[in-house]
Symmetry: C2
Subunit: 340 residues, 2 copies
């Protein structure tokens, strides 16, 4: 089976190449196809070191400044369009990892690969985020692909993200919370209140409304939201963690005494940094299209690229697309029967 | 002038009494009226120590479990209803600080004190939050009072919160950002895109759309949002800061060596803790009603209670209600002229 890695449009193509090479060595049963600037890829040290690593030259790039729908039509030689082309037309190609412009990746996946039958909107499921409980990661869906969602979209997001977390995080029965402004059933805006009524009837481990302040307690495997608030949630977690860690660093560096103190806790501070490192979780999964798609950060490193490829393999080996298809079809059938 | 302090319904009434007493001593020109359980208040040490501190007995309490609209009618002897009554019927009473149930405080203020003429929805402006820049605080409006807001509400929130931050944070020309999922003008859901078009024409230092990840950089004095996403923003900041600080503490305590190291940085860690302490900013201001209202945290301490009283005095001395009235009237007149 083939996994396509698009390195065009990201800030760190060499690191993505390194990650793809590492994943190729780790998974000799899969073929990894790097799509991007061939000259850059070919000069990467040890690029010939994995017989299952292939290169497709496509030096053209879609940037964040391009209009997504326009660019995917006007730039047929861009790495993204070429990568999607291989993914679509090759039966052995199971998934794509891309570090390109989020808008372009999601648009290309939706328009060129296509939504799964019965899926109202594909959902962007955030990368795992470290929580207060060691080994417990959090997934937020939708984390920015869909704004102005209807309540039925959120119900499908819950089904898709729960199946995803089972496959990739290895959680048997993921707890699903609905992002709101309070924990009571009736709290929230109109969308959330209507979504609550739909999600509570789904065959999921739904624990009800939840508040953003408890997102990282480890009590939730999946948080469901419209993409606007979901995006606010993941970005404020990112920004706040960065700000607080910056303040801690600043405090340590503010005097010779405290710098000395930090030497005594070098190991512990390193452990803390590694616990808080989100790269190990890979990128965000775009669920509900006909192939597996992972959008990695524009500044992905080797670890996050290899993790994203690993996530594609986990989704594939857990038949995630079939699982989503089954869950969505069952939901749509129930809904149609109720409305009949 | 009188400032009313409602200590009913909060978890820490003694601390609120202490804060009120401290504020009374600090501001001999103002009268502070504590409303709550008289027996509890009278036995507070040194309660007679400020001649400008008065006590109004109202031991009945509205809890978080009460329905706000129901409770303010059914519990006329509750501390909140009594406090609002004094505020409303006493011309010398300029403002209220309450630690009670948020829903009840906002409902009572809106129904019993009344919205200012021309104000579509009163807005809850978050307490100041510490940012990466020392001395720079952030205010989020709306932080939870209004969900399903119309774009025009957000435009008024921007006017009210900007005037508030001028008065209370002492910022001459506050930068106002609009919370969205990207920084480009056209990014966001339908509400945000429409609000952008309204806010850009206001006489404010509007810096455009902003992303939650940059909320704490110190680049923004005010962030405008519907109360759903605004609530998600402030609660995820709170939860993430708590989680990260918890991880830092955990790392420090994980070995004898690192505990020893922490001794060397005791002063710096204390400084960090004090920099991150939000109590100094007081509570959230409820703007757009006919008197000044500050809702403090249910677990307010002396510092945050005294700060909330200070904030009322700052708003009063900056004629905030007149300022808001002027800004909103001007906006409504312009809007009416455009639509004529």
């Amino acid at each position: 089976m083939d996994i396509i890695v698009d390195i065009g449009g990201c800030d760190t193509p060499e690191k993505m190449i390194g990650g793809a090479l590492a994943a190729a060595k780790q998974h000799p049963d899969y073929r990894i196809v790097i799509v991007g600037d061939g000259a850059l890829i070919e000069k990467y040290p040890d690029i010939g070191g994995a017989p299952n690593l292939f290169v497709e030259n496509a030096p053209d790039v879609i940037t964040n400044d391009d209009s997504p729908t326009h660019a995917i039509r006007q730039k047929p030689n861009s790495s993204l369009v070429k990568a999607i082309d291989i993914l679509k037309n090759n039966d052995d190609a199971i998934g794509l990892v891309s570090g390109g412009s989020t808008g372009a990746v999601l648009t290309a996946a939706t328009l060129l690969i296509g939504r799964m039958k019965g899926v109202l909107r594909p959902v962007l499921a955030s990368p795992g985020m470290p929580t207060a409980v060691e080994g417990k990661a959090l997934c937020v869906a939708d984390c920015g692909a869909n704004v102005d969602s209807k309540p039925e979209f959120l119900a499908q997001f819950a089904l898709m993200a729960s199946a995803y977390v089972k496959a990739v995080f290895g959680v048997a029965n993921p707890t699903v919370g609905l992002l709101s402004v309070g924990t009571e059933n009736k709290k929230g805006d109109e969308r959330t209140k209507a979504a609550f009524e739909l999600i509570k009837n789904l065959p999921l481990n739904f624990v009800g409304n939840m508040e953003a302040r408890y997102a990282l307690t480890g009590d939730y495997d999946v948080i469901i939201s419209d993409g606007f608030a979901g995006n606010v949630l993941i970005k404020s977690i990112e920004g706040t963690a960065k700000m607080v860690m910056g303040q801690v660093k600043g405090a340590i560096k503010s005097s010779a005494r405290s710098k000395l103190g930090a030497l005594f806790m070098k190991k512990e501070l390193k452990g803390l940094k590694s616990r808080m490192d989100y790269h190990v979780y890979g990128g965000a999964a775009f669920l509900g299209v006909n192939k597996l798609v992972v959008k990695t950060h524009g500044s992905s490193n080797e670890v996050s690229t290899a993790a994203s490829i690993n996530n594609i393999i986990k989704m594939y080996e857990h038949n995630l697309i079939d699982e989503i298809n089954r869950a969505v079809t069952e939901y749509n059938t129930t809904l149609a029967a109720e409305n009949a």
